[in-house]
Subunit: 297 residues, 2 copies
Amino acid sequence: MEVSLLEEVENILRYRFRNKKLLEEALTHSSFLDGVSYERLEFVGDPVLSLAISNYLFLAYPDLDPGQLSALRAANVSTEKLARVAVRIGLHRFVRHSAPPLVDKVERFVDAVKLEINPVAHGGSVKAPKVLADVVESVAAAIYVDVNFDLQTLWVIMRGVLEPIVTPDALEKQPQPVTMLYEMCQKKGKQVDIKPSREGDLSVAKVFVDGEFVASASSSQKDHAKLEAAKIALGKLAHLVPSTDKKSATNMKLNFAADENVLKRIQVPLMKRNLSAQFRFQLLMVFFKCLGMKNLG
Amino acid sequence: MEVSLLEEVENILRYRFRNKKLLEEALTHSSFLDGVSYERLEFVGDPVLSLAISNYLFLAYPDLDPGQLSALRAANVSTEKLARVAVRIGLHRFVRHSAPPLVDKVERFVDAVKLEINPVAHGGSVKAPKVLADVVESVAAAIYVDVNFDLQTLWVIMRGVLEPIVTPDALEKQPQPVTMLYEMCQKKGKQVDIKPSREGDLSVAKVFVDGEFVASASSSQKDHAKLEAAKIALGKLAHLVPSTDKKSATNMKLNFAADENVLKRIQVPLMKRNLSAQFRFQLLMVFFKCLGMKNLG
């Protein structure tokens, strides 16, 4: 891969790789004949992002219950979210592949995302191509390996890349349709059932409420079919939806500590991100204080 | 929680907590009225173990493809695997709860595990109670928070707790029944379909091959029903199973680097686990060499 292209990606990430081969690997789709594909890195990148986001949420929202934390994590590492990250920072322009159908898929998604006014947490008009989310995961893994498996440093670099991080407020405005459908029906004492099936190459999801057919949708991805069917069902059952009490969710944001040596290799001055030792200590104190109060309460 | 009980658990884990409240929290089920339950820690513990195992597998098996790595990871962090870890180290004796049905469930599982001769990767005669796997995850998270979110140090402590780590060889001897069923049918040009449904409180899974009913099973857990149905189907379709070529899988085992300061708080001398700086450097060199060779090849 041309050095100038790799440097362009490094500029986007604001990080200079010690081992450029890692970045090249992270940008190589399995269809590309030359070089190692990103799949092994993606294997690591998935739990890397999951734990980095989990740490952040665990520290930033001491008052959220585990269910709310899990919903927030899912929204922040979903294919829909990560594919939008790839488009926002322009990473999709650097993926090496030899799979022509990908070009059209990615272009249609990029066009659709450009028209989105508010961040979309659970899928917009065009399904997110998995390759885009995969590349964000594999790039995260490439950085993680390059910084010697130091998650704190990875987070300092990836925190900005993942913006906007989905907050409790944002999630409350866009609840997950399947969860919302189940919750709504449970409140109204109704039994909801989403039945999956296959029609040729497509996954079909049919929504039944109290045994009665309400909606169906199909997609090449099972989860996407379920999501779309739930959305349609929610539209049809809108008369049941209660007005929700908006909970005021804390919006505190914390960074993890970071290794000063590795920070020197991060290109752009990290004025806001690079935490002083004293601030790091204060953060940990706040965190343990929160834990302590909960234990005593 | 009594100090002597906490110390007993610390002895099992070979780790002394700075903040004992974290360990107490990790051992408290949501049914227990006093204190904070383990659910927030479990939220972090799940990706902690997932990333720790992923790092280990990524470094230890440079020749495995991503599919094999994913299968190995799944086997090492499954409910069945982690619940057996809890039983093996005796952690189940320290869980605080006020849910009497749990006692019977756990006892039946403990008795069944005692009768197992070989490690069971995908479920034995009695379904693993989720609470046992949850507690291993939350204890891992408690250690992780106590060592300031340092995954390398967490791994040094948890590596022994998680023994026996499922290796490629062990997994090959016990392939995942659902995967095996799909692979076997694909090889024979047959179409397999596992249809989930509900009967009262139970999940039911029915296996169809080329549209013909082959087997069914029910369980309170959907995945368990699917697994059991696949096992029965494999038994009935045994005449289709090809003799597999045993691949010789590498068994190299690596530890991550560890923070020397925190290691001092680990109770028992970690002669084998505590890596010298030189050895750590060698490990990283081996790893980058492998990566380099793959990139050049």
